[in-house]
Symmetry: C2
Amino acid sequence: MSDRLKHTDTPALLTELPEWKRFALTAQTCAPRPDALDLIEAPGLALDSSGQRHSPELMAAGEALLRARDFEAQRARLLAGEVVNLTEDRAAWHTLLRAPESTPEVQAERERMDAWVRRADAGRRWRHVVHIGIGGSDWGVRLAVTAFGYAGTWRDVRFVANIDGHAIEGGLAGLDPRETLVVLVSKSFTTAETLENGARAREWLAGAGLDPANHLVAVTARPDRARAWGVPENQIFQLWDWVGGRFSLWSAVSLSTALAVGVDVLEGLRAGAAAMDAHFVQAPLAENAPVRMALAGVANRSVLGHGSLNIAPYDSRLANLVPYIQQLDMESLGKSVDVAGRPVGVPTGPAVWGMPGTDAQHTFFQWMHQGSDGAPVDFILCREADHHWPAHHRQLLANCLAQREALMRGKTLAQARAECLAEGLDAARADWLAPHRVHPGGRPNHLIALPRLSPYSLGALLALYEHRVFTQGVIWGIDPFDQWGVEYGKVLARGIIAELGPDASAAEGSPAAGADSRDRSGPDGHAPAVRHDASTRHWIERLRSSTP
Amino acid sequence: MSDRLKHTDTPALLTELPEWKRFALTAQTCAPRPDALDLIEAPGLALDSSGQRHSPELMAAGEALLRARDFEAQRARLLAGEVVNLTEDRAAWHTLLRAPESTPEVQAERERMDAWVRRADAGRRWRHVVHIGIGGSDWGVRLAVTAFGYAGTWRDVRFVANIDGHAIEGGLAGLDPRETLVVLVSKSFTTAETLENGARAREWLAGAGLDPANHLVAVTARPDRARAWGVPENQIFQLWDWVGGRFSLWSAVSLSTALAVGVDVLEGLRAGAAAMDAHFVQAPLAENAPVRMALAGVANRSVLGHGSLNIAPYDSRLANLVPYIQQLDMESLGKSVDVAGRPVGVPTGPAVWGMPGTDAQHTFFQWMHQGSDGAPVDFILCREADHHWPAHHRQLLANCLAQREALMRGKTLAQARAECLAEGLDAARADWLAPHRVHPGGRPNHLIALPRLSPYSLGALLALYEHRVFTQGVIWGIDPFDQWGVEYGKVLARGIIAELGPDASAAEGSPAAGADSRDRSGPDGHAPAVRHDASTRHWIERLRSSTP
């Protein structure tokens, strides 16, 4: 094991720090003060924290806490590409992928991909693109394609992620194989979902009398495996071990984005993210947007006890921002031990969920207003729209501001009763009904305003969330870059697949499967035989008969 | 006010009931016992509750609690169409819409719609359908169309819900107006989003030189308003005041479903739901699927403190089940006062969120396994697939069972250490790494298994959730059918719309807008002038300049 891990990276336990106790106490006693405007103008966006607990005292306590966590040194290590993913002993250097001055290797791969896309564009090749990837190999591309191709693109891009056969069936249905490019994205090139779905696509191409090799592109950190799988060398694009899956849209993983909405979009995304990286490094902590969001996030979760965080983009083009941030936040902060393996001692990452407004208002905002807890909300809006109906945009923005105001302000019993009377109810009915119309208010929120939904602003927004998550990891003292919880279920699944039927799956039988040592629990790549509980046994028995 | 409300419907406060105290104590001390199979075979599905707290003592305590809440009488009132929505003084009689013996009025409207769709089918009319509705006028249709039309349908159905102009822009982009039917769904026919989007569609039709009246259909409880808006009489289908929005897919709201995947699908959905209704009435409480889910839901939320509920359909066709249940559950149970207006005294409805597996495994299952809290999960699977790749289905089912087992079973420090050593790590590294690979386990779950994704099974599944939600409402003593929290933001929005720009919006200016008295806060339909907080004032000022 590396000495680094053992000796220099054991932080103090959070809850033993006097700085933590002061921060917690100060947050507890500080009210939300929407009447004191608390605004940061950052690259590509403005962050309004007026709806969170905020005060000079709380900020001072937060700065002291960050100093006690050695935050500035940790941030420097992240951005210098040092080992920050301690349990996997590697860097998390996605910022390099968007840095204005990157390495020749990164630059060359980017240029190679751009050139490939431009050639395809020039030749009007590939009317259909089937993007096959899952999790980090999927959400970032979906997000960008929906954001900038919301009204359709000349290339029809389909996304296939799930191992469920209906996904690949639906993904290929109705396409002309001659005009179809299949893009396979898997960092390890062992992901079961992606290889199985890829195999179906390959069969479909071959079944149409085509040579699949001419229709396949791969993006992977293991070009050797992609070649062995049948992708020609010059159609393989590279990412690197130091790029985590949930940070990989800055790499060639975004090839399908470039095919759908143009390589310039990628350039814009990178420029916005790089500008946010610079802000994260340079802005004083009190005016540092990711840092301020992180402090609010820790206060909401670990001090005030909010178990979830709602993401409310008031822009229908940002529907896929929700799963994107879900993965970024929950895979990173869904840990309960610190880097030294000790329980953190306070609740860490919240459940992240959401939906674009105004849809969300008609789906679950009832609960936000009057439920037992409600949840902190990140409202996101674009000041300018890209359509030509100002009345729509005005209503959209007004709804965003109104929901936010209602959640902060609430409505008292006296107000509710007065309202009932004003509607013409008699006094007895007003007395009876008013308690049902009380809103407690005081729900915390951020408001993030983009000038408009440009690639630059979206890039800045994504980097804002990345660094917010990283900073929360530093405060809690956890490794935000590993995902051991994802691995365990995979191992158990392998055993149950075998128990459900006689024939091993195609991916399992392939040379690539199980080749990643972190995926293995024994030399044969299968889980050791486990004695299942009665319920699991029941379902294995019953489902075996229905999967011939 | 109705006497009913005042005198006969004030239940005891939950927390003062000895039956509640016994239930809470028993649930607290009862461990999950996946080794004791707890299975109910209900119409259209099987429910496995082995992964929840369960024991004969807990069941007895639950039955006593339900008796103390007068559950059987309340259930009878629901199904007889009596007033169960007390704060709005009306019935919630959606079960009538699927009853084998319905009323002549319901039956006639159903037949009229079926006939209309069959005529359109016979004439191969409407290659494109633009379904315009939001919330309850949207999710049920999206759910059914995605479930049964996942591989495409000959009619291309687009959904437009959000007031965001990009939604209607994208919804109409690329369509041939001559071949396009626009379906407007709004119970009140005053919903701002739906009328604004409808107005854009109407302009688009007229701009193509067509008579919009020939291309418009409306589904509403207010045919008079639809007629005034320009929809011809024979293209208006009816729902009724006693059908709540979130229960409205059983009505003509599902017209677009019928156009996309056939009227037979609607028949199947209704038959499955009706069978579940009968089960809900007839099955003994211990074998009553909705009742058992409700008791588990109350125990998880109000006793064990789980703040959220994850919905994990292991079927990519059920992606829209998540927002559907979100609305059903959170609008119904996002209340914190009981029907008598008193604080319930325990936390009520959880945050509901989720995503189809296996996507969810690559997005947030890390958090489910190793985060501070995790969440109870409803796993949903289909025993048989409708595609032809058994290996895919076997892997899908194995992943579902494996994730469930991992969440129940967990992994101890000793197991994690042994695993590290088996992978070849040295002892020091294994000691260091093992705590990061510990899984606490013991997370509660349901497993719901459909034989396959038929309309019958999906109908049963939706009714299962409806009655589960209703039963939780009875236990908590709240009105699950109102949504006062939704109304408040609307009122504030109206004021801010006016402040953001000079011209009132089209919907605001129309005769229909604001005509629903529950939408109004004053005689002019606008909110009384409010003094905004500094942050809201800042944004109104700043956004005014960007919405010319």
